[in-house]
């Protein structure tokens, strides 16, 4: 399957976005701990032999369709997330290399607006699934005809 270069409102089932590779650093994690006001010890390196975990909200944020290098909005349009279903499969330690892949699975109409269902899968460097997130997206302003 070729990676799509379409604008978001032109997506069709089967289209795939370019994957994103990233590593959550200690600094990035702490930024999100502040954003979430969640300073649980499991996210902080308090002992030399313990590994701090990445806050799950970073994983959700990085699974957003807007994070793909392929994501492209037409002028005058926006990207709205209306619904999300997430399955967590594995805790992630700070410094782990992660890859996210996105594919459009279905599209539907609701109240005169077109929605796109996109599945994001995040894996670690060993190919282990970290999370799967199903996004229901709409791109108001320049909807597909």
């Amino acid at each position: 399957m070729a990676l799509t270069t379409k604008f978001a409102h032109e997506l069709e089932p089967g289209d795939e976005y370019a994957p994103l590779e990233f590593v959550v650093t200690k600094d990035m994690n702490q930024q999100f701990l502040f954003a979430q006001e969640d300073f649980d010890p499991r996210y902080l390196s308090s002992k030399e032999d313990s590994v701090a975990l990445v806050h799950p909200s970073i994983l959700l944020q990085m699974a957003a369709n807007t994070k793909s290098p392929s994501f492209k909005l037409a002028a005058g349009s926006g990207s709205i997330l209306s619904e999300a279903e997430t399955t967590f499969a594995k805790p992630v330690a700070i410094g782990t290399k992660l890859t996210v892949r996105w594919r459009v699975t279905t599209a539907y109409e609701k109240r005169g607006r077109r929605y796109y269902v996109m599945v994001a899968e995040m894996e670690d460097a060993n190919g282990g699934l970290v999370l799967q997130r199903t996004l229901h997206l709409t791109f108001p302003g320049r909807e597909a005809k």
């Binding site: 600094d27 990035m28 930024q31 999100f32 502040f34 954003a35 979430q36 006001e37 969640d38 649980d40 499991r42 975990l53 806050h55 799950p56 909200s57 959700l60 944020q61 957003a64 926006g78 997330l81 209306s82 619904e83 999300a84 279903e85 997430t86 399955t87 967590f88 499969a89 594995k90 805790p91």
Partner: protein
């Protein structure tokens, strides 16, 4: 973390203000990036005004993070391997508003390794407006994994 979670029990997180500082930290990009914060509907009053919004709007994902915090308080490390969350975002949350996460046990199924707990979850404002709503589930181990 509760030892047991029974049908109908309700759990609530703390009411927290989604200050503009928190929105910038969540949606502004990496602090060390050039030109931080990124200007978007979540971080910039002018961008929000262009879209007809009265103020920067919090990412729904940031409110979802409040629910996840409550889930990790209820389920511990099991959430990272068995947590499931399905949400919708019925109302916007603007910078300066406060929300808290809530959860109510809907069903409990005893399994060999523990109990599968299903919950209704939501985030609400001080005037009880629901801004995130959905369901969650996770295995509740009889003995918490201490990893």
């Amino acid at each position: 973390m509760p030892a047991q979670m029974l049908d109908g029990e309700t759990y609530t997180g703390c009411m927290r203000e989604l200050s503009i500082a928190r929105l910038l930290a969540f949606s502004g990009g990496a602090l060390a990036s050039t030109g931080w914060p990124a200007k978007n509907l979540h971080t910039d009053p002018d961008k929000a005004a262009e879209a007809g919004l009265p103020a920067p709007i919090a990412s729904g994902v940031q409110c979802e993070g409040d629910i996840i915090r409550l889930m990790t308080e209820l389920f511990g490390n099991a959430w990272f391997e068995h947590g499931k969350l399905h949400v919708k975002y019925p109302r916007p949350v603007f910078a300066g508003m406060s929300v808290r996460a809530c959860a109510r046990v809907r069903a409990r199924e005893v399994r060999r390794e523990g109990s599968l707990i299903e919950l209704d979850v939501w985030c609400e404002t001080p005037d009880m407006a629901v801004v995130v709503v959905g369901s969650a589930s996770c295995i509740k181990y009889e003995v918490e994994d201490s990893r």
